[in-house]
Every structure is written in C-alpha cells, then in structure tokens.
Amino acid sequence: MTRYLVERNFAEGLEIPTDDRGAKACLNVVDGNAQHGVTWVHSYVSPDHSTTYCVYDGPNPEAIRQAAETNGLPVTKITEVRVLDPYFYH
C-alpha cells in the first residue's frame, strides 16, 4: 500500500452535517472505497469548505481515481507522500 495526499476542490463547498446523515455519507464513501481496495485515513478541510486534503492508502493512483469516481468525488491532484514526524529524531 502506498500513501497518497488527494486534493479535492468543491466549488459550492463540501457540507457534511454532524448528524446521522453525515455519518451515513462518510460510511458510503468508505464502502465505495472498499470496492477498489482503497482506505480513507482522514482529511483536512479548508475553513471555507472549498478544498479538502485527504490522506489515503491505496495500491496505485488509478485505484484512488476509480474510488473517487464511484463516490462522485472530484480529484484535483494526487501526490504520493511519506510520513515525517517532528519528534522522530528526538
């Protein structure tokens, strides 16, 4: 598994309510990812909700794109990343 940072842009902003519906929406995404062997680790969202940076594990960039398509999510840029921990050297 390779780790990827996936940038997504939402023109209207991404609204996920913090209730049952929001939870269901997230679980739907998890299900859709599973069809392509992709794991959503977590995301960072800009204050205006127009851009998200999602950390994903997956076999290759194509799987990330196919999962996004299944879930109806946009993809702007995929970057392969490694973890860098500031306290690693202490």
Partner: protein, 838 residues
C-alpha cells in the same frame, strides 16, 4: 460405516447450484467416498454424471468428458466425430449443465489432461450462471507448485462461485471405534495409518495379527490369500491404469477377486477398489512378466473397438514394442492435439521419438516436427524450438527441402514468441531463400506468410505486402486455407498505413477464410488486427467496433492472449479519445489478469504511464519504463513509438526539454526508415517542440502538419493543445479550459503560465469543482448518467448502456440529485435540458 464425514457432507449439501467445488485431500483419505455419499443423498430426479481422469502416463484427451458423454448422445456424437470443433464440444457441455438438477463429478483432476483442464477453467468461469453443481476431486499432495492444475485453481481463486473443501484424516477416536470391535489395538493402528481411511480398512481386512507397516504391505497381504488364477487376474488388472475390460481376464477367477472385495465390477469393465491398491499390486508383478502382460493387453485392445489410442500408446511403450509405439503414439498424439490437449500430444510424440532410432530418417523427421508443433501449442517454446531444429536437420538429411523450409518457417514464429526477434527474422529469411528457387509449393507459401507476418509486425509494410501477396497466391493455388487466412491477415494489416479501405477488405477476407476452416485463433487475430490497425491510424469508430467483436469472440472461447490484447487496445483507444476513466479501468484489468502476455503489457503500461503523465499522478516512470524495456526487447516500431512519445511528453511536462531528443531521436529515425505517417509525425513533432531542427517528411499524418483535424478524429487532448497555440487569446483560453475539463492539469498549468507571461487576461482559475468543468460539480460518469436520465431510461437500461450494474447507477443518481439539489429524476432531467450542454 461413514465416520467423521457428516460435517463435510453437510457443507456440500449447503452449496447452492451454480457452483464448482474442489474436494482436496491425500490419496485414500476418502474423497470419492465423501462425494458418493453426498450424491446418494441428492433428491431423486437429480442427474449425476461421473468423469474419471486416469493414471496413464499420458492421460486420454478429454477422458472424463468421454465418461460423462455416455449419458448425452449429442455430446458423445461431437466427441466421436474426428476433428470436432473444441468450442462446440465445450459449449455442448455447458448445455448439459444448463439442465436444472445436474451434478457432474470429475474425479482425480491431478491426472487431468490439458484439454480437460481448459474445460474446467471454461466451466468455472461460467458456472455462476448455470443451475448445475460441478464437483472436482484431486490429491493435494500431487499438485505441487508447477502442476498444471495450479493454473486452473489460481485462475478461479477469486471466482465467487468456486468453493474448496479439504478432507482431513480420521481422528484417533474414530480409528479406535473401527478397530476395537475387531479386537485390534486402535492406538497402534492410528499410529501406523495416520488416520488414512483406506489404509485403515486395508489393515483391518488383512489376515493375521501382524500390523502391516505400509499400505502396500496391507494390500499385498490381502492379495496373498487369493488362489493363483485370481492372483493372475489381479496382476493383469493392475497393469491397466484406467479400467480393464472384463474380457481381458478369466471370468471365474475374476469372480473370486470380486468376492474377496479386491476388485469392483462396473459395467463391462473392472477396477481396483482404490488406486493405491492397484499401485501396490502393480509394483509386485515380477519385472520379467510386466512387458509380456502389457503385450497381451495391447494385443487384445488393438483388436477391440473404440479404444482410445492413448491407451494403446501407453501399453505399447511399457511392452517395449517399438513398432507398436510408432504405430499408436502418433495416432494418440493427433487425437490429443485435435481436442487441444497439446501437452499430451507432445508427450505422445516424445514417446514415439524415443523409439524411432531405427526408423527411416523421414519418419524420424516427421515425428520431431510434430513434437515441435505440439510443444509450441502447449506453450513449451524451448522444447518446440529444440525439436523443430532437430526436425530441420533430419529433413535436410532426407533431402526433403520443402519440409525443411516449412519447419523453419514455423520455428521462426516460435523464436519471435520468445522475444528472439533477430533470430526469428534470420530463420524466416533462410526458409524463403531455401524454397524460392524451387517450384512453388505449399511450403513456400508458409515460409513467405511467416516472413510477411514478421515484417508486418515490425511495420515494414512494403516488404510485408510484396511477400505476403505471393504467399496469398500460392496458398490459394494449393488450397491451403489456413495459410491463406494468415497471409491475408499480414497483407491486410500491412495496408493500414497506405490504403486503409483495402486493409479492411483483406482482413475481412482473412476472417472469412479462418471461419471456413474453423481456425478460431486465426479469426480472433483477424478481428484484433482490424481493431488495432484502425486504432493505430486513429479511426476510432471502426477500431472500437472490431475490438469489441474480438473481445467477445475470445471471451467465449477462452482465447486469453488475444482477449488481453483486444482489451489492451480498447484501453488505448478510450485513452486517445479522452475517455480516461474507462481507459484506466480496462488497463487495470489487463495488468492484473494477463501479466504474462508481453504485447498487451506493453500497450497497457504505455497507456497507464501516459494517463499518469497527463493527469499529473504519481509515478508515471514505473509503467513507462516497464513498457519501454519490453518494447526494446521486441525492437518493433509499433511498440517503441508510443512508449518513446510518452516518455517525451513526460519530460516536456516536467520542463526537461533537453531530455526529449535522447528519448525519441533513435525511434524517430526508425519511423523514417519505415515511413510511418503517425509515428514519424508524433516523434518528429516532439523533436521540434524540443527545439531540434527537423523537417517533417511529406507523408506524415495531416494533423501533425497543420494542427487541424484532431477534433474530427476524436482526440480532445491534442485538439485542446493545438488551440492553446493559436494567435487569438480567446482560442488560447478555450484550449486551456478544455485541458482543465479533461483533468490534464500539468499541461493546463504549463499553458496558463505561458499565457500569463504573454499578458493574456481573464484566465480561468485553477480547478473549480470536479475533474470536468460544470456548475454542479458532476463527475464525468455522473454527467453521462444524467444525459441518459434525460432520455427517460430506467437504472437497468442506463446500466446496460454504460456496462455498470443498476446498483452503481442508483449510487450515481443519488449523488446527482444531491449535487443538483433536486428531489426527483424528472427534475434532474429538466436541469440537463435547461443547461443544454453537449
């Protein structure tokens, strides 16, 4: 007594029809008993059919199917007609499985011949749509890593309707339960037998108190109790590994063996209660008697009707009867080859070759030639090449120049398949040179056709046409339709660059000829070259039509290498037409399912690399260097050019313009030598972009000269790039927007930077919303679904159009409704109409 098997029988009963079950376990563990027990409890009216794979050194081709066909006149008819079409036989078997309440059992699949394994794979891939249950038993300890059954098990590993059951040994409690009533020590029995039920039974049936140490000892102790006549019967039956005809042995003595429980009578044949017992008795037959007995069996079988030649071939060899081997082995080999059991055909020819030292040179040459062909067909190219070379020498010694040349022609193709392109060309050229000064012959046609094909693959189109056309004439003159079909294919494919309409005409003729002689693989190649050839000159409608035809033809016949190539080209075609997500899905399929087919891997790795380059995705170098390395091995322009162009595009988008010349110059020269309009156009244009002074030759494809025509061809990426180069800023911006819509971010950013530097105002911002620009953020797939919604189609109908499941369509529809902020499909459809897009 049926101990500790209730759970396994229950698991078998729980399996719904539409499944294939593999029952594995060591010899004597009770696989057959388990399956028989299960079959005995099936509802009345269930048709249960058994097929047996046998322990002949070289098994009968489709042996189990012959057994099963006893209950199906249609299938039996197909099997007995010589030269019956394999696809017809396989399909007839599927029909048999379409009867509800059918259970088919194939026993001892570890001994299956190649054609039977192909059949199991064919059925396993389709079983979920059938109402039948197929149960297959095999010995797990015989199926090592390189065993042919592994291929079937591996291929079906992920199939949802394929199950596996492992039959374990009996526990010490169960063994004790069997031993105690007979006054034997259960613990000791368990220690010796390891809980193997067959061994346990044999020990318990053996006389005396001494515990036999091995299965063999136990069986022989039992056999020793029989009279001399009965023992002689056992010896004979033990030497017939499949099933011995009753007429082979003395009837009265046979009765004694049956009474003693050593042999079982089944119709007009007789067999040991277990294969382990047969082996034990066989190993005890005195060595001096073995050939004599086999000779007697052979004499009887040779006179009997409808005996599979594979059996004669086997007994002839063990009897040490050279003349009989040379008579029967080639017949058995031809029979096996006809049914697609190529590995067994090769084994029979190899057997014949071992006994041919004293035969005439021409007889030896013929056998080596056939051995080479069968090895080639079974995928053993090293053996194929070695045998063909031996045959070539022998034909030369025999002074048979035509046969020598034809063998060389075939061998050249084997060399090409192993990637030894230079050797292949040299040998084919030699074959043509050898034959062309002699009176025309079918051999000359074959050699010319082989050479023409190699030239076509290397894109030496003129050479291929000249040589191929003579091959066509001779093949026609001598009525060799197979060679005619293949030669027409090469000549047709060679016309794509100069005269595409003629290419279509010739390839369609090749397809018709292949159909006439039942050459399924030849037909597949004709469709494939119609599709890939049209794709290479960017006639996508024609390409897509034939690629789809080829894919469905190959899928129905399990012609995997042609299937993978058709899918690979479908992926390339979608990619060039800007349908990137479809291209991605197809390429992924080929990469994972057909890793061993080199040409397909070159095509899809090039596509995957280009997709990553154009989308700006990570690691385009991985697939691109794989594609390039494999392409270099072939040395063929058609493989090198797209890979070189892809690497140049990558360098360009990374701003490494100085690298471009090194990446494409050599392949560009190659394309000039062969005057390839598309290869020279694309590679020459990259050199010019990199600032290398290059004069594009006059024959390059029109769009590379003028920039016009990409849109008409259906290539949106190239069309968009050309727009960004125009003088008018409005057109430049339009081109930039098209790149953004495609999701081609690296190119879009490069262009945007250039336009900003030139002071162009009003550039569209970086990504707004989805990968395709539209107000509601719909993805490409959602847009497609919405367009079909507007046609008032149901989810099922939309699914059919887009080749996705209705459930996935439902997923997309909910997402569309959410994004558009509407509640119903009708409202969504109206929004599509109102926007009036596309």
């Amino acid at each position: 007594m049926f101990l500790e098997r209730e759970n396994l029988v229950a698991s078998l009963r729980e399996i719904r029809p539409g499944a294939m079950v593999f029952v594995a376990g060591e010899a004597g563990i009770g696989k057959t008993s388990l399956v028989r027990e299960f079959c005995a409890t099936l509802p009345t009216g269930t048709a249960v059919r058994f097929g047996f794979c046998d322990a002949l050194g070289t098994p009968r081709a489709l042996g189990p199917l012959h057994d099963i066909a006893r209950a199906s006149p249609q299938l039996a008819g197909l099997l007995t007609t010589g030269g019956a079409d394999r696809h017809a036989i396989f399909t007839a078997f599927l029909e048999l499985l379409s009867d509800p309440q059918t259970v088919v059992v194939v026993e001892d699949a570890h001994w299956a011949d190649e054609a039977t394994l192909d059949l199991l794979l064919f059925v396993g891939r389709r079983i979920s749509e059938l109402p039948a249950l197929v149960v297959i038993t095999y010995r797990s300890e015989e199926v090592g890593r390189d065993h042919a059954l592994r291929r079937v098990l591996g291929d079906l590993a992920t199939a949802p309707s394929v199950r596996r059951l492992q039959v374990p040994a009996l526990t010490s409690e169960a063994v004790a339960a069997l031993a105690t009533p007979l006054g034997r020590d259960g613990d000791e029995l368990f220690a010796v037998t390891g809980g193997n039920p067959f061994f346990v039974t044999e020990v318990l049936s053996a006389p005396g108190d001494d515990l036999p140490a091995t299965v063999r000892d136990a069986v022989l102790a039992r056999a020793a109790r029989l009279g001399p006549a009965a023992r002689a019967v056992l010896d004979v039956v033990s030497l017939v590994p499949d099933r011995a005809e009753v007429a082979l042995v003395d009837a009265a003595a046979l009765e004694e063996c049956i009474q003693a429980g050593m042999l079982l009578l089944e119709g007009r044949s007789v067999r040991f209660r277990h294969e382990l017992a047969r082996r034990a008795v066989e190993s005890d037959v005195p060595a001096v008697r073995v050939p004599v007995l086999h000779g007697q069996i052979l004499d009887y079988l040779a006179e009997a009707d409808e005996i599979d030649p594979a059996r004669l071939s086997y007994h002839a060899e063990v009897a040490g009867d050279r003349a009989a081997v040379l008579e029967h082995a080639p017949v058995a080999a031809r029979r096996a080859a006809e049914l697609g059991a190529h590995r067994q055909a090769a084994a029979h020819y190899a057997r014949a070759v071992r006994h041919a030292d004293n035969a005439q040179i021409a007889v030896q040459a013929e056998l080596w030639e056939r051995l080479g062909e069968s090895a080639d067909d079974s995928g053993d190219l090293a053996e194929g090449i070695r045998s063909s070379q031996r045959a070539t020498e022998l034909w030369q010694q025999a002074g048979e120049v035509d046969r020598q040349g034809a063998t060389m022609a075939r061998c050249s193709h084997m060399l090409w398949k192993t990637g030894m392109n230079a050797e292949a060309h040299a040998l084919a050229r030699q074959a043509v040179a050898l034959l062309q000064d002699r009176p025309p012959s079918p051999a000359l046609a074959q050699a010319q056709a082989a050479m023409a094909r190699l030239l076509m693959l290397g894109r030496d189109m003129r050479g291929a046409i000249v040589l191929g056309t003579t091959a066509v004439e001779y093949a026609r003159q001598f009525g060799d339709l197979r060679t005619l079909g293949r030669a027409l294919n090469s000549v047709g494919s060679a016309h794509w660059l100069m005269d595409p309409d003629r290419a279509v005409e010739l390839l369609e003729a090749s397809l018709a000829t292949a159909g006439e002689v039942g050459d399924d693989a030849g037909a597949a190649q004709a469709m494939m070259n119609l599709g890939s050839g049209a794709g290479e000159i960017r006639r996508y409608a024609l390409a897509d039509h034939w690629l789809a035809e080829a894919a469905s033809w190959c899928a129905a016949r399990d012609l995997d290498s042609s299937l993978s190539y058709s899918l690979a080209w479908q992926s390339r075609s979608r990619f060039e037409q800007g349908q990137w997500s479809e291209a991605t899905a197809l390429a992924g399929q080929v990469v994972t399912k057909y890793p061993q087919h080199v040409p397909s891997q070159i095509v899809v790795n090039t596509v995957l690399g280009r997709l990553r380059v154009r989308r700006g995705d990570p690691d385009p170098e991985g697939p691109l260097s794989r594609a390039w390395e494999l392409a270099v091995q072939t040395g063929d322009l058609q493989r090198l050019w797209p890979a070189a162009a892809a690497r140049a595009e990558h360098a360009w988008l990374q701003g490494r313009m100085d690298a471009v010349e090194g990446l494409v110059a050599e392949t560009y020269e190659h394309s000039l030598e062969l005057e390839h309009p598309w290869a020279a156009g694309e590679l020459g244009s990259w050199l010019r972009t990199a600032g290398v002074a290059v004069e594009l030759p006059g024959y390059v494809a029109e769009p590379y000269k003028t920039g016009d025509g990409w849109r008409e061809l259906g290539c949106p990426y190239e069309a968009a790039l050309v727009l960004t180069e125009k003088a008018d800023p409005e057109q430049q911006i339009a081109g930039l927007q098209e790149l953004q819509q495609l999701g081609a971010w690296p190119a879009a950013e490069l262009v945007a930077r250039r336009l900003r530097q030139n002071g162009v105002q009003g550039l569209p911002r970086r990504p707004r919303g989805s990968s395709r620009e539209n107000p509601a953020n719909l993805t490409a797939r959602e847009t497609e679904v919405l367009a079909l919604l507007a046609e008032d189609l149901t989810n099922a109908e939309i699914g059919q159009r887009l080749h996705i499941s209705p459930k996935t369509v439902d997923h997309h529809v909910s997402s569309i409704l959410g994004k558009l902020g509407v509640a119903t499909r009708q409202e969504a459809a109206r929004r599509w109409g109102a926007d009036g897009r596309r």
